[in-house]
């Protein structure tokens, strides 16, 4: 029973990591930008859901939808204002800008909410006790949502015209406009989808762990980055695979080793992948274009 409970813990943690890693990996996959502000957009979504639930007393579905739309628009505007002018600049400049945007978001929220806040529980708290194993409705919802969104995203990227344009841009940004595709529009859509996913993760996370603070996005953003690297950054299925691997490693370390080793092993895993397989499990080794 103990093992089963830990397995359920892995599924829940992995799904939350997965939701954030999906957006991370998608933005990278298409415009080769490691969006370090991603974790902070996740945090903004959690705070928007808090405002909607506390001040407007909205139920779960409208809270989720409004938060997602708001944060997706925010993500798109950030891309327009901060990243677009740097499209021809060295990649390092954009990464530094992303870090700056992240710091801005953290400190902006800090102005209004310097203290941790509690998000009211909007979902029914149903716990099933199956022979000593506790499963909650929230667990099931989070796991289901992560897998469903992965499938939808996979379909969008691989089966639609927009997805085809996205893949084309990731392949060659200069040729694509010659085929009559608006690069700006496609990149905007990429950001809307990517940050929308982070927003869903933020709302679900605040429901699962209830306390939120302006710095909550930093650590979880790093964890999602590791998930994306393990699975193969830019690869959608890889992000989910990486998320479950990371969650399994973290929970198993806590189970069998002193829990102090957890972050040590997590970041060692990142280093090992970066050193020996930087393109991750499902990624393809990059082809040098001469």
């Amino acid at each position: 029973m103990y093992a089963v409970q830990q397995f359920i813990n892995i599924l829940q943690l992995g799904s939350i990591y997965g939701l954030i890693a999906l957006g991370y990996t998608m933005v990278y996959g298409i415009i080769r930008l490691i969006n370090f502000a991603h974790g902070d957009l996740f945090m903004v979504a959690a705070f928007i859901s808090y405002i909607l639930a506390v001040y407007l007393k909205l139920p779960f579905i409208p809270t989720l939808l409004i938060s997602v739309v708001f944060v997706a628009m925010l993500g798109m505007s950030i891309e327009r204002l901060a990243y677009k002018p740097l499209r021809q600049a060295p990649r390092v400049s954009v990464v530094i800008t992303a870090l700056g945007v992240g710091l801005f978001l953290e400190n902006f929220v800090l102005l209004f909410y310097p203290y941790p806040q509690v998000v009211p529980t909007l979902l029914p708290t149903i716990n099933w006790n199956l022979g000593g194993v506790t499963v909650s409705f929230l667990h099931v919802l989070i796991v289901g949502l992560a897998l469903l969104l992965m499938l939808i995203l996979d379909l969008i990227v691989n089966r639609t015209m927009v997805g085809m344009a996205m893949r084309a841009i990731s392949w060659n940004k200069t040729i694509v406009p010659l085929m009559g595709v608006s690069v700006d529009k496609i990149i905007s859509i990429t950001f809307i989808l990517g940050t929308g996913l982070a927003a869903i993760a933020g709302v679900m996370y605040s429901q699962a762990f209830s306390t939120i603070d302006p710095y909550m996005g930093i650590l979880i953003g790093w964890q999602a980055f590791i998930c994306a690297v393990i699975g193969g950054i830019g690869n959608i299925r890889g992000a989910i695979l990486g998320a479950f691997i990371l969650a399994a490693v973290q929970i198993l370390v806590v189970t069998f080793l002193p829990s102090t080793y957890r972050d040590f092993i997590t970041f060692t895993l990142l280093l090992v992948f970066l050193a020996f397989r930087p393109y991750g499990i499902l990624g393809k080794p990059p082809i040098e274009k001469v």
Partner: protein, 390 residues
Amino acid sequence: MKKTVVVLLVTMLTIMSMVLVGCKSSAELTIPIGLNAELTGGLPIVGASCKNAALLAVKEVNDAGGLDVGGKKYQIKLFIEDNAYKSDQSVAVTQKLITQDNVVAIIGPNASAMAIPPSEIAETSKVLMISPWSTNPATTIDSKTGQPKKYVFRACFIDTFQGKLDAKFAMETLGAKRIAVMYDVADDAGVGLSKYFKETVEQMGGNIVAFETYTSGDKDFSGQLTKIKQANPDLIYLPVMYNYVPVQIKQAHALGITAKFLGSDGWASDELIKLGGKDVEGTFHTAHYAPDIATPIAQNFIKAYNTAYSSVPDDVAALTYDSFGMLFESLKTAGKVDRQAVRDALANMAHYEGVTGTLQFKEGSGDPIKSAVILETKNGKFVYYATVQP
């Protein structure tokens, strides 16, 4: 051309320095005191309480015409610095207070992880530092020699005392036999407390069935708590900061854990109840003072604090107020505004009647001898449960 620029620059600097010196001599007599607090970052409530109490203590003295030191009345000038709950920034602001603002003494920081690094600087710079709330023994002990630091004091009891007291309370009063511990490895107070708690429980014949850790910033404790549930404890000791407690107890309850919870003085913030709601009912924790059994001195302070900020002062506020009280007392005894003289006066102080009880410093040590209280969370309030003498 170059020469003219140099001459111009020198003239400007001379005028500026003359103006600055002129300002200083015309101003009234002041005593600069530094405050190093956790205003932003992970523990903003602690920083806010500390700042509020500091401003109150300074205002009371200044409004009464100033502090009488050696027959002259001095106004207190407070330099407030934010360490952002980062140890490197805590060191940087301490250096700034000492070298730039020329403070006579520094009050703060509060969290042990913030207080230990700057305590080394205060010691080497020979500047008095009083930490209101840092309970880790290392704050006042020199890491190289193992001897007590000469310039670092605190207003609170230390973790060796608190850890033992918590262990005794868990076993004797609450009757716990199988005990689990979970703490934050990045929090010096928690690391120390868990160690002393575990030692005492084992000496008393109790059983530590799980000893789990996590790192600052974590929100998911399902792995550790599932392991604790498997060990089937009848009490879980959480020597952690208030902001983690609600999340941990909520997750424990969701996993079906029914054990009792006991915490350290890190719990003493109303935020715990606000964030935890029903889940934190019936828990116990150690504290530095209990507002509901306050002495006349404490009642005056609670009243003044309540008038100024319309809230009941927490542990940090009370301890900060006592730190300032002790500092003012030492300044008066010293009879001059001098770093060394103030330090000597505090070290030789017979005893101090403060908000948090009677404080007394042992020969050569910066750790006061004082009592602790145990509080219970009942109907959305911390209620006095017992007093424990050292």
